[in-house]
């Protein structure tokens, strides 16, 4: 799975993104977030941050029940501040 980070999520993770192998048993965005949070300190900080992190699957906003698979492009980022 292609994983991208933006804004302070990228700063915290120390990289733009990465290629990951989705573990067995993870089929939704919500399950992904749970797994990601427990992967390391930076990940826990990103998911636990006071500003709720948003998730996109294949460049569309995704809620916890959105299905994901290894072929997807997933992104994690803060609430947007453009305009």
């Amino acid at each position: 799975m292609k994983l991208f980070y933006f804004a302070w999520v990228r700063d915290k993770m120390g990289r733009d993104g990465e290629q990951i192998q989705l573990p067995e048993g993870i089929h939704t965005a919500g399950e992904f977030i749970e797994w990601f949070k427990d992967r390391g300190t930076a990940e826990a900080e990103v998911i636990g941050a006071s500003e709720m992190v948003k998730m996109a699957v294949n460049q569309e906003y995704a809620g916890p029940s959105h299905p994901i698979s290894d072929d997807d492009e997933v992104a994690l980022f803060p609430p947007v501040t453009g305009g």
Partner: protein, 151 residues
């Protein structure tokens, strides 16, 4: 029309491009957003980050939604990314319609939705260090108006 670009844009030229030689317009509403430095000398630069691909998709969805809600003759959204300075142009939205209120409302709708949906992020450099701008709850409230207020 959607454009995400590093370069500056010319507001007058953009308005003329879609209003010149059209006889069915009547009303053009334009919003221009600039890098603001209220305190006078607190912001050195503002960096605009975005998600290439998703940003264009979200802007296209927002434009389609505005066209579905109001009778628009034309619509343009231009948003810059990269490093900007106070006073620099960031974003421009313009809508053209036979009707004044449709032009105003759709332009405001586009800005409200762009602010809460389009994946752009601002980072301010105050000289003492860089900081990501936090999202404002008031922008969510502004965007929510449009789901309550069915025209």
């Amino acid at each position: 029309m959607i454009r995400v670009q590093r370069e500056d844009f010319d507001v007058g030229q953009e308005i003329n491009r879609f209003s010149n030689d059209k006889h069915d317009i009547g009303a053009v509403c334009t919003f221009l957003g600039l890098v603001r430095d209220l305190a006078g000398d607190s912001i050195k630069t503002m960096t605009l980050d975005y998600y290439p691909g998703m940003t264009e998709k979200e802007l296209s969805k927002i434009e389609a939604e505005a066209r579905a809600r109001w009778p628009l003759t034309d619509c343009v959204i231009i948003h810059r990314y990269g490093i900007l300075e106070p006073g620099d142009r960031i974003v421009m939205v313009a809508t053209a319609s036979p009707h004044r209120q449709a032009a105003f409302q759709s332009c405001e709708f586009l800005m409200d939705y762009l602010k809460t949906r389009a994946p752009f992020w601002k980072k301010e450099d105050t000289g003492d260090g860089e900081q990501w701008v936090e999202a404002r709850a008031s922008d969510d409230v502004a965007a929510d108006r449009w789901t309550e207020n069915i025209e």
